[in-house]
Symmetry: C2
Subunit: 358 residues, 2 copies
């Protein structure tokens, strides 16, 4: 049986009013429908279905509420000027979802079925994809543990959801450098922990440092390694790149860093352009030395939400680094223009990254 035949569809009787697509806030508005699929030990994953977007009802003892056994993904759908719907490397997200499932002792999902479900849901909700420049439809697949049981053990029941949220342009007036605080007290993740998985606890752990950074006037934190607090890991919930000493450096995947899809795409683009790029262990001290000697040219975060987020200021303890005069660097801008160009279909896609939704 083909996956597309297996997904049941129940349409909503009362469509929501669409929001003003020119004034969308991230992650607050959701479409009319969602995809749902259940897992039990005897049936495996079953009953894949598209249903009206509606509340989830769970026993108060459901494992998700107590022990956080859950994973998620984030990607986007884009409308091109030719009115096509583009997804960007969705297979990478589904692969990572399953790697996260493995780390959290959760059952593997059929990636083809998940992708087919995603396509059918987006085709149904096409009118919800905003068309203004820089806007998109944010896609949130997630799996929660639903068994009502207070023992600390993997759940025997799960539910997989895909929900959709139209989102505005991340940068309203071109990309905009941010101020970042290097975090010296709190730790996001450590090798042997869950840092490489896209799971709730990593994000809960990050809230406190983020709160402190905001109080000090910084928009995000730069995470250092949890062992020595010397080596650079991630920025906020993005990966990070440094253009310094004639090459582009990003921390190697060391067992505590999330393997970003945008990160991988940036590395591939840089190699395609024959710009030296290296994944390695990178100390904050080394970055500061490069800054002092005038060799730190650009710093930028990479992630699905912002694509490229240039860093204009990096504060490490009492040391303040102003990068590229606080302006977006040429490479950051070129990467942003090229990646978003591929996503919106205005640039060629030599890597075969785009998946079209019919």
């Amino acid at each position: 049986m083909e996956p597309q035949q297996r997904i049941q569809m129940t349409l909503t009787k009362t469509k929501k009013q669409k929001p003003n697509f020119a004034q969308l806030e991230f992650g607050r508005t959701f479409t009319d429908h969602m995809f749902v699929m259940d897992y039990s030990e005897d049936k495996g994953w079953h009953d894949p279905r598209i249903v009206p977007y509606e509340p989830i009802t769970l026993d108060p003892a459901a494992i998700i509420f107590h022990y956080g056994q859950t994973v998620f993904e984030g990607l986007k759908a884009y409308i091109t000027k030719d009115h096509e719907v583009h997804l960007f490397r969705p297979d990478k997200n589904m692969q990572r979802l399953n790697r996260s499932n493995e780390r959290l002792c959760m059952p593997q999902i059929d990636e083809d079925l998940a992708l087919e479900a995603l396509k059918q849901l987006i085709a149904l909700e096409r009118d919800w994809i905003p068309t203004e420049k820089g806007t998109s439809l944010y896609i949130r697949p997630f799996v929660i543990s639903t068994e009502p049981y207070l023992g600390v053990a993997p759940s025997t029941q799960y539910r997989f959801f895909i929900i959709l949220s139209p989102v505005g342009a991340y940068y309203k007036e071109g990309i905009n450098p941010v101020k970042i605080l290097v975090e010296n007290e709190y730790v996001r993740a450590v090798a042997g922990g869950t840092g490489t998985a896209k799971t709730a606890g990593n994000y809960a752990a990050s809230l406190k440092a983020q709160e402190v950074a905001e109080e000090k006037g910084y928009s995000q934190v730069l995470w250092l390694d949890g062992l020595e607090k010397k080596y650079i890991e991630e920025v906020g919930s993005m990966n990070i790149f440094f253009k310094m000493n004639g090459e582009v450096v990003t921390p190697a995947l060391n067992g505590s860093i999330l393997e970003g899809v945008t990160r991988d795409s940036i590395i591939q683009l840089l190699k395609y352009w024959e710009i030296p790029v290296v994944e390695r262990k990178l100390g904050i001290e080394e970055v500061y030395e490069a800054y002092k000697s005038g060799q730190l040219e650009e710093v930028f975060g990479t992630g699905t939400a912002a694509v490229i987020s240039p860093v204009g200021e990096l504060r490490w303890q009492d040391k303040k680094m102003i990068i590229n005069d606080g302006q977006t660097g040429k490479l950051s801008q070129k990467l942003y223009d090229t990646l978003t160009g591929i996503q919106y279909g205005t640039e060629p896609d030599p890597f075969g990254w785009i998946v079209k939704v019919k």
Copy 2:
């Protein structure tokens, strides 16, 4: 207004059939009612109420499902031979709940109100407290983030619950030593992380190591520090004590270990008995050296569920330590008898630990 006047009560119309109290499994059966209270930014905590135990209904975008912003507690109510209902140091749990709230950027709860709510709920559910030896009513207070928002930020809405579950004796035929595997790959928590908070992500992170240990025939893992994998932290979800070289040693509260209520009670009891007890950094190598020289007398975990969990075998890489011939040690047994005696009212309570429910 006194707290007890403020809690609204709605009784169930259909009481559940009580389970067979002689055959209770941990954490699977729940009573007829629960306590609920809501939080919003404008009202603070409001609408405290006892209602029928019923499913929780939340938007699929609720923060709890995505970023795990949640905290919980665990304690027990006991029936004494004089038919009184005892709580054991419940104020300590409410204090820790608030410390966890602080770490997770969640609002503080009025500890007196929470304790009053707990007492009222237990008084109402008194028939659900099993009376067989070693049985009790497990109490699970927890707070979840309910705002529907996909941005990574503290929720502006929360719900606090207390649910109750009758539980059987942890040890059906006296306390029973367990086999423990020292974990060398996975990490539970690290200083700067969330290890000192009772929050979901710590437990999700522990599932994989537990799964691997069980496959190897061990019932729990002993966590080492996440930095050097040399120093002892916790065992499973319990604190751990070593009777060695003429004193009792437990790892100091170092910023990644949960501050157990049972742990604190054990330390106080040992001091009361004038048995040398010390909280300090403790290497697994040091434990092994003590074992080799015949100075490792007893090892036991401590927690609300088991009270005392003797360790009969400790495996560290290729080294196997058989402790006290695999039998429960005298001190372990005495601590268990004394603590459970205080809890069930058969032993005096010189510390004022017992809170009676009227």
